[in-house]
């Protein structure tokens, strides 16, 4: 990446130009630092408060620096049996739905890229268009559907819906990734006697692991963070996922701000870990799948 600033100021410059460049740089750093501090402030408040006791908060407010770090709030949050149920439920929804959506994306992406047919371009656009629409459009029919087949208030609706709603983005990414792989590779494998299933599994899947990693981080984050579907499709406490649970428990801890903060952080740990360890894939995915939001 070439810097605009560096390009703008040529290397062989007079001394006062050098000084001016330094000053520009210093000003840039200073303003960036201020902005980043302001930008982080909201999050910092929650982190700080989660380490303070309720008395400390009521004495010094949410934003005072804690006198000492204590983990009581985390202990209390984690010992609330519901919180553990919510976290387990979130994993039970997120992991299968992440796998499921990537799997069907692999299948359809392969067809659209390597086995196109008359009209497949239109079918592709039809599938991809799905990621642009607000989910409210299907809320009521799906609510009725899952009610009538007895899956209401189980984890199944979320698994099924997230898998299906993941199809557009997974298809888009996989098709684009496969299109960059030469078709000759498929043809060679077919001449060697492999069928399409074997070609996908043995040749294309191993090559597309970077794309799968991008999708995995993306889908995991979206599904984990989802709030709407579990809000609609579940009602009992032992079927709630963590984001809905967070809102449910807010009433219970309405004055225990520290516990609220600790719960919000516990709920965010899985996606934060993904962000820290797979940031490259995460950002790549965000760029590619931005439109889904």
């Amino acid at each position: 990446m070439t810097s605009l600033v560096r390009t703008a100021a040529a290397p062989q410059v007079a001394d006062d130009d050098k000084v001016r460049r330094r000053l520009t740089l210093a000003a840039l750093y200073l303003s960036l630092t201020i902005i980043v501090l302001l930008y982080s402030l909201p999050g910092l408040g929650v982190i700080i408060s989660s380490f303070k006791t309720t008395e400390e908060i009521s004495r010094g407010g949410l934003w005072s620096v804690p006198t000492h770090i204590n983990f009581d709030n985390y202990g209390e949050a984690w010992n609330n049996g519901n919180v553990r149920t919510y976290v387990v439920n979130s994993f039970l929804v997120t992991i299968p739905a992440t796998f499921g959506s990537i799997l069907i994306g692999l299948l359809s992406g392969y067809v659209f890229s390597k086995l196109p047919f008359r009209g497949s371009e239109w079918l592709f656009v039809f599938v991809v268009a799905g990621m642009f629409f607000p989910p409210q459009i299907v809320l009521i029919p799906l609510f009725r559907l899952f009610n009538s087949i007895g899956l209401y208030d189980t984890l199944w609706p979320m698994i099924i819906v997230h898998t299906a709603f993941g199809l557009p983005i997974c298809t888009l990414l996989m098709r684009n990734f496969f299109s960059a792989i030469p078709t000759a590779l498929r043809d060679a494998a077919v001449i060697d006697g492999a069928n399409e299933g074997q070609v996908l599994l043995r040749v294309f899947l191993p090559l597309s692991l970077p794309a799968v990693a991008v999708l995995a981080t993306l889908q995991f984050t979206w599904i984990w963070n989802d709030f709407l579907w579990p809000l609609i499709f579940t009602q009992s406490d032992n079927m709630r996922t963590v984001m809905v649970g967070l809102v449910t428990l807010k009433g219970q801890y309405s004055v225990a701000w520290g516990v609220q903060g600790a719960m919000a952080i516990i709920a965010s740990i899985p996606t934060l870990l993904i962000f820290v360890f797979f940031q490259r894939y995460f950002i790549q995915g965000m760029t590619l799948g931005a439109v889904k939001g």
Partner: protein
């Protein structure tokens, strides 16, 4: 050979497409159907009421308010996070030491759930302890400080700011990706021709960022239509419906008041608005493949 290709096309596409049809497309069409009924969400039966729900929509002052708020949301989304994201991307694409750390800090909110983002900002706006009022009070602006989320004049703006906090990082990610595709030679050529930083920015960089800009704008508009989670958590659409968006209103009518027929009609309107915007978007980006490279 041809037959075997069709065998694999059908095998690969059947599960993805079946799921997509049952969970996404079918319910979408069903929403049109329900919008012509008075279904209440509980009973199995319902009556056909023709276009009554749509007639009611246009007399409902709540709907007018929700439309207005959604438009305000869109306009705000198009300006603040877009310009903020662009400015940050331009500042951070330089080979600044520490740029990676700065970037990470701005990215970070993207991996948080809107539930958590809402929670974080509720603490900022908290009337007694919130950082906003504390700051205002300490600089002598007591008259300005208020219960931000409980005042009809400020509730919507407060929620949009919280949302924009996350959205800015997202816009930055996309602009940064767009900036990497600006050829260095062009910038050097501009510099040789005597262009200063501002000129090369306005004449070279911004025009070349057009694809990224289209994505950011589409994202802002589409996400505005989807604005639900954070409204639900921060205000629930209140006080007095002052922060109702279309998506929020659709939820309240359907799942709070159980006017499922009326709720379906609102979702149909939401769909039609989305359809117009998406058609416009697809016309802007001539083909999907060129979009992200």
């Amino acid at each position: 050979m041809v037959r075997s290709r069709w065998f694999w096309r059908i095998t690969f596409l059947s599960i993805p497409l079946l799921l997509y049809l049952v969970i996404v497309v079918g319910p979408l069409l069903y929403s049109f159907f329900f919008s012509l009924t008075d279904w209440n969400g509980f009973s199995y039966d319902f009556n056909f009421v023709g276009l009554d729900n749509f007639a009611k929509i246009f007399e409902d002052p709540l709907f007018g308010g929700a439309i207005k708020n959604t438009v305000i949301w869109m306009v705000a989304a198009l300006t603040i996070p877009t310009l903020g994201g662009l400015a940050l991307a331009l500042a951070l694409q330089t080979q600044l030491r520490g740029a990676r750390l700065f970037k990470s800090l701005f990215y970070l909110p993207i991996c948080l759930s809107l539930v958590v983002v809402g929670q974080i900002w509720i603490w900022i706006y908290q009337p007694r302890w919130g950082l906003l009022n504390l700051t205002l009070d300490s600089v002598g602006l007591m008259d300005v400080s208020r219960a931000w989320l409980a005042s009809p004049e400020t509730a919507l703006a407060s929620v949009i700011v919280a949302w924009g906090w996350q959205q800015t990082g997202l816009a930055m990610v996309i602009f940064l990706a767009g900036l990497t595709s600006v050829p260095t030679e062009l910038l050097e050529a501009a510099q040789i021709d005597g262009a200063n930083y501002r000129q090369s920015l306005v004449r070279v960089v911004i025009p070349l960022l057009q694809p990224a800009t289209v994505v950011v704008i589409a994202l802002a508009v589409i996400n505005s239509l989807k604005s639900f989670d954070i409204v639900y958590i921060m205000t629930g659409g209140g006080p007095f419906h002052s922060s109702d968006t279309l998506a929020m209103m659709m939820y309240n009518e359907s799942f709070k008041k159980y006017f499922m027929g009326y709720g379906s009609a609102i979702s149909v309107v939401l769909f039609l608005i989305a359809l117009v915007l998406i058609a416009f978007y697809f016309r802007q980006v001539r083909s999907l493949e060129n979009l992200y490279d």
